[in-house]
């Protein structure tokens, strides 16, 4: 398998380490809701098909990527620097506050 790091170019996947599903967003550090954390820590979508995942270019530039890959064909659709695509969660209560 080959992954094209946006910075280093195309490399063998042995240079990279997968760090799991990237479709979930890490809850805000101040979020203390148990369900939110339980789902985040233990439940992953595990799709048969397109899958977004974090990969670390461990033996290359050391940067973190979000790779969109097919879990059946292993085809890679997209690779981005994680920094560019992850979005931050809102602080807990922010939504509620806004609603009020």
């Amino acid at each position: 398998m080959r992954i094209t790091c946006p910075c280093c170019g195309e490399r063998d996947y042995g240079e990279f380490t997968i760090y799991g599903d990237a479709s979930r967003r890490r809850p805000h550090i101040e979020d203390t809701d148990f369900e939110t954390w339980y789902n985040y820590v233990y439940i992953r979508p595990n799709p048969k098909g397109r899958h977004k995942e974090f990969w670390h270019h461990t033996r290359g530039c050391g940067q973190w990527l979000v790779v969109e890959r097919d879990t059946v064909t292993h085809e890679i659709y997209d690779v981005s620097l994680a920094r560019d695509v992850v979005t931050l969660p809102e602080a807990p209560g922010a939504e509620a506050a806004e609603a009020k």
Binding site: M1, R2, R26, I29, D31, F54, Q63, A82, R83
Partner: protein, 1000 residues
């Protein structure tokens, strides 16, 4: 002459360059250019081995990698190589080979009795037998069965040869060097693409090499090779098999660099693993001839028609004097004619009623008798075919008559049609598609970056193959970004004759009523016959996958190259399903078997995994340290004096540290620079305790949790400036922590401005511990005031020693007054030596990891044995450390009932009731005086002899911890050795619990 059956000056071998070799201890002569198989045939030897299950005599059946029978034991001693294919072993002077799977000899093999009982040893018979009488009876039978199974014998000696791996990159990879492959390489080469061509054989040319020497195709071949060799952008790799096709254009190749020599030259590898990354691939892997099952179709002297032709034309060998050629298609006529031309008597038996008229006429004029509408229904002879039983045959119904003629022969050639070599396409998950006209599976639409050409697509003429190859090569080059071929393909010299008459598919020759029933083999190597397929059918193992596994069809080392298609076609016939409905089994890497050695390459011996050395490694070795592996590192375990063993040494070292002082290499601890405006906030989130108030120049102990709320790692982190922290981690988790921090910063908290950089390689770490450490450091680093008030516990100071920067941390793992010195790695040895020299006046000793462990156990510090990924803060007695004023990684999940459960096992100290009695790590804690059953109350995690206490002590985890068990007796049980050591549960802080020493 090199062999009695050699055609004078015949073939493409080098006459005059003779090579002597032995087979089963007897010496023979062959020629350079021979394979072991051709050299054996040149000496009139057909019988070369015994079959897997029935121990039937077997000969040479093919002329290439598809050979199912001629497996031999090659070379001797440490270089012994079992199961070598005689048909692909290049002959060299001094070659030694022996036959396999027979006792006492190849000629007389006792186990051939199995053959007499073969109908009892039918497919899957072992599933129905050897069941009783007792529950474990199989253990007894297995012993005997295993001995009988297996083929060649492996050496148990280490391999003296070397291997390597090389990475190659190209635009177009061409696999196969027949007319199709060469033309593909030519097209891509002429288009300016970077081309690699891999051919498993030593010579390039593929099927062209099987044409008679001097054929018109020879000119085409030499002109083509000449041009290819001149092209700078084309690399030709003979002796190189492409064995695997992987995701995204990765192809794995194996080059036999020195297998054709007695042994590799100096500095030469035996084999080379080539990992190719390519833009496009042209597969031109040709087609393999397939057998036809008839009675005793496995006897020595029976071979594929194309193989016989190859032996005659390429190797100049007469595989017999009197041949019968049995075919269902046109291709075997060429073989018949070439055999005849070489002086072999030939009779041709064509199963088709309407044999191709023109070819028949040519045969006639060459005095070859052609019998059409006939089939060979059985072969006679045991060690060598003697005659063929021929019967009338109706290809439509498959019915055959009584034997109408018995043709004497010592060579029986068979052609059942051609199976395109679709492996590398199918490995990519593309199911092959059945072509009814050819009665063969074609590769189907090429998967991902592949192109297919030549006989692999059913193009069976030389010119047709070349044209399809050229077109594929041109297209591949273009898609890879190169231009167009500078010139078109010339096919002068290549024949373009296609088959005159279509083949009639024949999967089995069922003998007529009156004909002797003899086993008809489908898979020679695994002794699978038509009757086994029938049995599988009767018993309901009708899916091809069940058929394969129940009968082991296609599961031998040849992976069914000659047998798979026939087997599944037979099952299709039996079930009444079509062949495409029945389908093939899955093609998997490798195409040919591949050695462990070649994949291992240079990653062997001490280079198996990279060894990590601290800057003090050389010094430690020079000064007699015993080293120990710790992850990738080697660390000083202990420094023996006068023949001490580890126990004596660590007790002495530990004692000395507590008495005066000692010094240990702690470079392996993970070291991470945490820098940036948000560094304090970041640490506050990753550690359970607070970090914002820590002042520059101070250090603090911290613990990190995983997301699930269990302890991840711990260490001391110092604040060097407002925005700069220096973190240390445990040796074991250093990389994991670094990765985790990076992930949090780059994938989660992208709003934090923090950089983490591993500086484990940048600094050497030296710990100096013991009551004299202050005086020693004061002497060496005179600029720093080491007085307790000036430089308190958890303080950090910087200075220089003779121009070398040094950072001193007052931290302690041993419970003693202690310091850690960090200095840039290149100065590590100099600083260490300065301390060592000065230390002589302070009673300094060197200590290793064993004493380091003893000291921390005495002090009651937990380490990797306790932080094993299952412990919580509370388990380690650190519940109070967790800040309640902030959230941190794991703060929510650690609240779960299972993590807070009071019955969890918690960290305690253990004292054997008898202080002399040794505690062992890994012992279980059970109630005192029993019962000693079940999972126990806990376990002993770390143990040592404590010189300070004059007794053995231990650390452990026990249900409910000190609260429940303090002062009580439990038994540390080690049922593996029957040891039971009663101990008292005590506080883990054995040594200086108030911390007066480290703080004083």
């Amino acid at each position: 002459m090199a062999g009695s059956h050699r055609i004078p000056n015949g073939g493409r071998v080098t006459h005059g360059a003779s090579a002597s070799f032995t087979f089963d201890g007897k010496t023979y002569q062959g020629l350079q250019g021979d394979t072991l198989a051709s050299a054996l045939l040149a000496n009139g030897i057909h019988l070369v081995g015994r079959s897997f299950k029935y121990h039937r005599p077997r000969g040479i059946y093919a002329a290439g990698a598809e050979e199912p029978n001629a497996l031999v034991g090659l070379r001797e001693g440490a270089r012994a190589e079992p199961n070598a294919l005689a048909t692909t072993v290049e002959l060299y002077d001094g070659l030694t080979a022996k036959s396999q799977n027979n006792w006492p000899s190849l000629q007389f093999d006792v186990a051939e009795v199995n053959n007499l009982f073969q109908r009892f040893f039918s497919a899957g018979f072992y599933y129905k037998t050897f069941i009783g009488p007792f529950e474990k009876s199989w253990m007894w039978y297995e012993h005997i069965i295993r001995k009988a199974a297996g083929m060649g014998e492996a050496t148990t000696e280490p391999d003296p040869d070397h291997y390597e791996k090389v990475y190659k990159f190209c635009d177009v990879l061409v696999v196969g060097s027949g007319p199709a492959g060469l033309s593909a390489a030519l097209a891509a080469g002429r288009a300016g693409a970077r081309v690699l061509l891999a051919e498993q054989e030593p010579d390039l040319g593929g099927a062209l090499l099987s044409a008679p020497k001097g054929s018109s195709s020879d000119q085409w071949l030499s002109a083509t090779l000449e041009e290819l060799e001149k092209l700078q952008n084309v690399e030709l790799l003979p002796r190189t098999v492409a064995w695997g096709a992987y995701d995204h254009g990765t192809y794995t190749l194996m080059e036999k660099v020195a297998d054709h020599k007695l042994q590799p030259d100096e500095h030469e590898v035996r084999q080379r693993s080539i990992v190719v990354q390519t833009g496009r691939v042209v597969l031109a892997t040709g087609a393999l001839e397939r057998p036809i099952p008839f009675g005793n179709n496995d006897r020595p002297g029976i071979m594929l028609a194309g193989a016989a032709r190859t032996y005659v034309n390429r190797y100049g060998v007469l595989p017999g004097k009197q041949a019968v050629v049995f075919t269902n298609n046109d291709s075997a006529y060429q073989s018949a004619l070439d055999l005849k031309e070489a002086g072999i008597d030939v009779t041709l038996v064509d199963a088709r009623k309407d044999a191709p008229a023109q070819l028949v006429a040519v045969c006639k004029s060459a005095s070859i008798e052609v019998m059409s509408g006939r089939a060979v229904v059985g072969a006679n002879g045991r060690m060598r075919v003697r005659s063929a039983d021929v019967a009338e045959f109706d290809a439509k119904t498959g019915a055959s008559s009584d034997v109408v003629r018995q043709l004497a022969c010592d060579l029986l050639c068979v052609s059942g049609g051609w199976n395109p070599v679709v492996h590398l396409s199918s490995q990519r998950g593309r199911k092959p598609e059945f072509d009814a006209k050819l009665a063969a599976f074609l590769p189907g639409t090429p998967p991902d970056n592949q192109h297919h050409a030549g006989a692999m697509l059913g193009a069976f003429s030389d010119a047709g193959a070349a044209q399809s190859g050229f077109a594929a090569g041109a297209e591949a080059a273009q898609l890879a970004g190169a231009g167009e071929p500078s010139r078109a393909l010339a096919t002068e010299g290549l024949t373009s004759a296609d088959w005159e008459k279509p083949l009639v598919p024949i999967w089995d020759i069922k003998p007529g009523e009156q004909v002797k029933k003899r086993k008809r083999f489908v898979d020679f190597q695994h002794d699978v016959g038509v009757s086994d397929v029938e049995l599988a059918h009767i018993e309901g193992y009708v899916s091809v996958e069940h058929l394969k596994r129940y009968t082991t069809l296609g599961m031998a080392a040849d992976q069914g190259k000659t047998s798979n298609i026939t087997g599944l076609a037979l099952m299709a016939e039996l079930t009444g399903r079509s062949i495409p409905e029945t389908g093939t089994t899955t093609f998997r890497p490798p195409y040919n078997p591949v050695s462990f050695g070649v994949i291992t390459g240079q990653e062997t011996g001490l280079h198996f995994r990279p060894l990590r050395r601290t800057p003090l490694h050389d010094w430690n070795l020079k000064n007699g340290a015993e080293m120990i592996n710790v992850g990738a590192w080697q660390r000083a375990w202990y420094y023996p004096q006068g023949g001490e063993d580890v126990d004596a040494a660590y007790i002495r070292e530990t004692t000395q540290v507590r008495k005066t002082c000692g010094m240990v290499d702690v470079t392996t601890l993970g070291k991470i620079e945490v820098q940036g405006p948000d560094a304090a906030e970041f640490l506050n989130r990753v550690y359970v305790n607070g970090w914002k108030l820590l002042k520059p120049g101070r250090a603090r102990y911290g613990v990190m949790l995983r997301d699930d709320g269990l302890v991840f790692d711990d260490g001391t982190t110092s604040r060097l400036s407002d925005t700069h922290y220096f973190m240390t981690t445990t040796t074991a988790e250093a990389a994991a922590v670094m990765t985790h921090l990076g992930w949090l910063l780059e994938c989660c908290w992208t709003d934090l401005k923090v950089h983490v950089t591993s500086v484990t390689d940048q600094y050497a770490g030296i710990a100096v511990a013991g009551p004299n450490s202050r005086a020693l450091l004061q002497e060496v680093f005179a600029d720093i005031d080491f007085a307790n008030e000036a430089f308190p516990f958890m303080g950090v100071r910087e200075t220089e020693y003779k121009g070398m920067p040094v950072r001193v941390f007052r931290i302690s793992f041993s419970g003693e007054l202690a310091y850690e010195v960090a200095t840039p790695s290149g100065f590590g040895e100099a600083i260490w030596e300065a301390l060592y020299e000065a230390g002589k006046g302070h009673g300094l000793c060197l200590y290793g990891t064993e004493a380091l462990g003893a000291l921390r156990i005495e002090k009651g510090h937990f380490a990797g044995n306790e932080i094993d990924g299952r412990t919580s803060l509370e388990d380690l007695g650190l519940g109070k450390m967790a800040s309640t004023k902030k959230q941190f990684v794991g703060s929510v999940m650690r609240q779960r009932e299972g993590i807070q459960d009071e019955n969890r096992q918690r960290f305690v100290g253990l004292e054997p009731v008898n202080p002399e009695e040794r505690l062992r790590g890994g012992a279980l804690l059970h109630p005192h005086n029993g019962p000693h059953a079940g999972h126990g109350l806990g376990h002993v995690s770390s143990t040592t002899y404590s010189p300070a206490l004059g007794r053995f002590i231990g650390l452990g985890l026990i249900e409910g911890g000190l609260e429940r068990y303090e002062g009580q007796l439990v038994d540390a049980c080690y049922p593996l050795k029957g040891w039971v050591v009663p101990c008292k549960v005590v506080s883990p802080h054995f040594y200086d619990p108030a911390g007066e020493k480290q703080n004083g």
